[in-house]
């Protein structure tokens, strides 16, 4: 039986009230270019050749916040040469074939955004190291510069796209888990740019029931969830890196049933259906005082 949802109206009303209060007054923030008229004039000049980019920029968050106080040159650099030499190299072009390094392009954004808390570790991240510029993911000419996850991420991380479409997967393609829920794409001090100290601490944020502490731990589980699970998707149920019977035998191979489960022709219940997990259901740990068979 489904419970009635009583919290939603409270959340919505509270948020709306706060929004209306904050929208009630105030002045525009202070931004970069001091000469509003000059900025508008330069924008108009650019539009004479680049009608669509200027039009799309005018719908963007940047344009609305800046309110004409910054011009195209703020990002694209001086355009004096570009007027006479309309090649991409005579201006800072963020598109293909612009000839600028990713670092040069990112520096244009970091000039304003470096003070942002979530960019403080940009220099430590894999994206900077691998020459990924801000505009490789963010389209600042669109109404919202929010990255369209996971589509944008999949364009480079093709293996993750493949995994996310497999039969067993985290609900990434359904939009319920975002790449940024687990990874800080702007840089971290951790491996794989994880949003936590290590894999397990990250997984426990959502899977708090797996945290323990347990009377009976399963050591590989406590050390690294990724020993048994592949996080984006798998051919095998429950995001397993292998089918369960094979995976368990990689560590447990003794004279008991462990060694004889996979004989193909047998109907042994050790191998059928979910295999080992049918009996060893508390595979992540057990809080039972039972000394035997409780895992």
């Amino acid at each position: 039986m489904r419970k009635r949802n009583r919290l939603l109206p409270k959340v919505v009303v509270s948020a709306w009230s706060l929004a209306m209060l904050t929208m009630g007054g105030g002045l525009a923030g202070q931004f970069l270019a001091p000469d509003l008229a000059q900025a508008a004039a330069l924008g108009a000049d650019c539009a004479s050749c680049h009608e669509k980019p200027v039009a799309s920029f005018n719908t963007s968050y940047h344009a609305k916040i800046w309110q004409g106080k910054n011009d195209c040159q703020s990002c694209h650099g001086a355009t004096d040469k570009h007027v006479n030499d309309p090649s991409k190299s005579s201006v800072i072009s963020f598109g293909k074939g612009g000839g600028r390094s990713a670092d040069e392009l990112s520096q244009k954004c970091l000039g304003c955004h470096q003070k942002s808390a979530h960019l403080s570790l940009w220099d430590m991240g894999a994206h900077k190291k691998n020459d990924v510029s801000c505009t490789a993911c963010h389209d600042i000419h669109s109404p919202r510069s929010t990255v369209k996850q996971p589509t944008v991420c999949f364009s480079c991380h093709k293996d993750v796209r493949s995994d996310a479409n497999k039969m067993s997967h985290h609900p990434i393609i359904e939009g319920k888990v975002k790449c940024s829920d687990c990874h800080n794409t702007h840089g971290t001090l951790t491996k794989k740019m994880l949003n936590a100290e290590n894999t397990n601490q990250l997984c426990y944020k959502c899977h708090a029931d797996k945290r323990g502490p347990w009377i009976w731990e399963h050591p590989p589980v406590e050390e690294n969830c990724a020993t048994c699970h592949t996080p984006h998707g798998s051919r095998h149920e429950n995001l397993m890196v292998e089918k369960v019977v094979n995976l368990c035998q990689n560590c447990h191979d003794d004279r008991r049933h462990h060694a004889s489960v996979n004989d193909g022709a047998s109907t042994s219940h050790y191998v059928l259906k979910r295999g080992c997990i049918e009996c060893h259901h508390s595979i992540h740990g057990s809080a039972s005082f039972n000394k035997s068979f409780s895992r």
């Binding site: 709306w16 430590m124 093709k158 601490q201 323990g212 191979d253 219940h269 009996c279 039972s288």
Partner: protein
């Protein structure tokens, strides 16, 4: 239906004031989209697999996005699938550089299997009862394996145009439903293990709270964060009635996840503008995870404690986590990037050690309580050579010490069942990137890992009659890994982008005589985007993955440690897809997409004297097809009509699920994952209004 109506009314009440504000005050800009439509769904086969994480049923569908801006103030609302069981709402806003806030509410279903059956009644409660007519599955109880997830919370950050900020956030997660589980029946009489699939009753909450304060300067950033998380489980255990005469109370008591409290304090620091273009960053955190419960809390009576001979009837879980990470990145010249880093992670498990029949019987849980300490030190170098060549190289040393504390009464070193106390990993890599040509970027990278373990096979064999003897973790064995990666990106035309990634990885567990001995992995992915003409864009991709794993199997380690057979597992996965976006006229456009996935697994056995075994040819095999077509007609610049169709088909085959019956010997199955095949058609019409 009521849920959908309520949600729609709430959404409209959100949008209406914003529109009124926009009409009254010219300075406030309000933009957004409202979508409303209806869909019809036809599913044959397993509806739970089709709807694993989504709510796709007949009825109304919709969504909304709203942005409001007034000077430095901004406000955004986004709603998806309002009224459905996978609905989500997000509100955020604030005043630029002064404060910001966000609220979110999200629901998700996780459907495993519908219409499962079990020979127990009382499913979902703390006591389930076995029915006398178990041989007749028509009398069994029907239920759905499904868990509802809800999460909601908010965050407020205040900086007031200063370099200092404070962030306060709280959120709550709820889970309710039935998750796959099973109970073991008649295990103590030595007649062999038997089981019955029954669901685990799920009803739990996780409450999270965080407070962060920090400083954001041009050169220095610093922050201090406190985080608390409490997990509360309404079901600490559930019991079942007798299935067989030999069942004991211990057999019949199923202990579930305990409550826990997690506390963490962390500090982060970065300092840029140092000499040689350097940035120094560090992060420190200390966390503690605790719980405590008694035997009675998990359904254990004093008689059960006596039967087991447990030395105590309470447990205090206590685990400390400590993390130190620091890195120094530098750019001494325009051509050279360097980074050195150090990471330290410590897990100190101080939980209660319990024993059975101590001191004469030293069977205890200490062998399973894991403490570890990991130290890693590494560097990365990147140098830009002429002609847009870049060389990257690096090295990392990782030492893992899994020494286990010895209980005072044990009086000797305790080797855990999985045995290896320490491993060291040395990882090297070398990469080359060339982007000399404007239309081509090529990257190649080689990585080698050498792992050295102190695993003691003699100690494992000496574990005698312990129920977990001969356990040897494959992930901590000696091994070498060689990996090659190649990536190409072509831009031969302004309208054409091509990408190709290839990976070959080989893992060799050279010292391992039992379990996994080696695995090879290859993958190739290619994609293309072609803006064929102004009005037509085509996208395509293809992916192929192959994994081959060899493992030795030993029939009886106490007789001989020589393998009796080799088990070779092959997994292959194909995936390809194509999509087209066509703008037929200024008002009419079409989107078409199709995707095909094929998974194929097999196991071959090579007999080494134990007796020939039949090879397995159906090992998580499946094909999945997906087609989607959409026509979008712009009635005017603000109003759009969308007509769409989605087709999906899944066909699954696996030898462990072939000839499925609910009763196999004395095991009782429930139909869980039994037949995931489905074929589904979805049609929908949607009107969207932009403002």
């Amino acid at each position: 239906m009521k849920k959908k109506i309520y949600s729609t009314v709430i959404l409209l009440s959100l949008a209406a004031p914003a529109l009124l504000v926009a009409a009254e005050e010219n300075k406030t800009e309000v933009h957004g989209t409202i979508e409303l439509g209806a869909q019809g769904v036809s599913t044959s086969g397993n509806k739970a697999f089709f709807q694993e994480f989504r709510d796709l049923d007949d009825g109304f569908v919709g969504g909304m996005q709203l942005d409001a801006l007034k000077g430095a103030y901004h406000f955004e609302v986004e709603a998806q699938n309002p009224g459905a069981d996978d609905q989500s709402f997000q509100l955020k806003g604030g005043e630029y550089e002064k404060f910001k806030y966000k609220f979110n509410y999200d629901e998700m279903v996780h459907n495993y299997t519908f219409d499962a059956i079990t020979p127990f009644t009382g499913i979902g409660t703390k006591n389930i009862t076995y029915i006398a007519t178990a041989a007749d599955t028509a009398t069994w109880t029907k239920f759905d394996y499904s868990v509802d997830h809800k999460s909601y919370g908010g965050e407020l950050e205040i900086s007031l145009n200063s370099p200092f900020y404070v962030t306060l956030g709280a959120d709550k997660r709820e889970q309710n439903g039935l998750r796959p589980f099973s109970v073991v029946t008649e295990h103590t009489n030595g007649a062999g293990r038997k089981y019955a699939e029954v669901p685990e009753p799920i009803s739990n909450t996780t409450d999270n709270l965080h407070l962060k304060t920090g400083y954001l300067g041009k050169a220095i950033t610093a922050s201090l964060t406190g985080y608390m998380s409490s997990f509360n489980n309404d079901n600490k255990y559930f019991t079942r009635s007798d299935v067989f005469a030999a069942d004991t109370d211990i057999d019949k008591t199923n202990v579930l996840a305990p409550d826990n409290d997690y506390r963490k304090i962390s500090g982060d620091f970065s300092w840029r503008d140092l000499p040689l273009g350097s940035v120094l960053a560090a992060s420190l955190s200390h966390a503690n995870l605790q719980n405590d419960f008694s035997a009675a809390d998990v359904g254990w009576t004093s008689a059960m404690i006596t039967t087991q001979g447990v030395n105590r009837s309470t447990f205090e879980g206590d685990i400390d986590y400590t993390n130190v990470s620091m890195a120094l990145s530098s750019r001494p010249t325009d051509k050279l990037d360097t980074k050195i880093y150090y990471r330290y992670i410590d897990r100190d498990d101080k939980s209660t050690v319990i024993s059975y029949g101590a001191p004469t019987d030293v069977t205890d849980n200490a062998k399973m309580l894991l403490s570890y300490e990991k130290n890693s030190l590494g560097f990365d170098l990147g140098y830009r050579f002429p002609n847009k060549n870049k060389v990257d190289a690096g090295y990392e040393y990782l030492s893992t010490d899994r020494s286990t504390a010895v209980p005072a009464w044990a009086g000797a070193v305790i080797n855990r069942h999985d045995n290896p106390e320490s491993t060291t990993d040395d990882t090297f890599y070398l990469g080359l990137k060339n982007s000399y040509l404007d239309w081509l970027t090529a990257k190649i990278k080689y990585t080698r890992l050498e792992r050295d373990s102190d695993i003691d096979t003699t100690a494992i064999i000496a574990q005698g009659a312990d129920p977990n003897r001969f356990t040897a973790r494959f992930d901590t064995q000696d091994k070498t890994m060689d990996e090659w990666k190649l990536a190409l990106e072509f831009y031969p035309l302004d309208s054409l982008d091509l990408g190709l990634n290839f990976t070959h990885q080989n893992n060799d567990y050279e010292e391992n005589s039992s379990s996994r001995t080696k695995d090879d992995r290859q993958s190739v992915y290619a994609d293309v985007t072609w803006r064929a003409v102004k009005a037509v864009t085509l996208n395509g991709f293809v992916g192929f993955e192959k994994t081959s794993i060899d493992a030795n199997r030993i029939a009886d380690v106490t007789v001989s440690t020589v393998p009796n057979r080799v088990e070779s597992t092959d997994d292959t996965f194909w995936s390809y897809g194509l999509s087209a976006n066509i703008a037929a006229t200024d008002q009419l456009s079409f989107n078409f997409s199709g995707q095909y996935d094929k998974s194929d697994g097999s196991v071959d056995f090579t007999d080494l004297g134990y007796g020939a075994l039949e090879n397995i040819t159906e090992f998580d095999d499946y094909t999945k097809k997906r087609l989607e077509a959409k026509a979008i007609y712009a009635i005017d610049p603000k109003l759009k009509l969308t007509l769409g169709y989605l087709y999906e088909k899944l066909k699954y085959q696996d030898y462990t699920f072939s000839d499925y019956t609910y009763i196999t010997g004395t095991d009782y199955l429930s139909g869980l994952y039994a037949d995931p095949n489905y074929e589904a058609n979805v049609g929908y019409v949607m009107v969207s209004y932009g403002f």
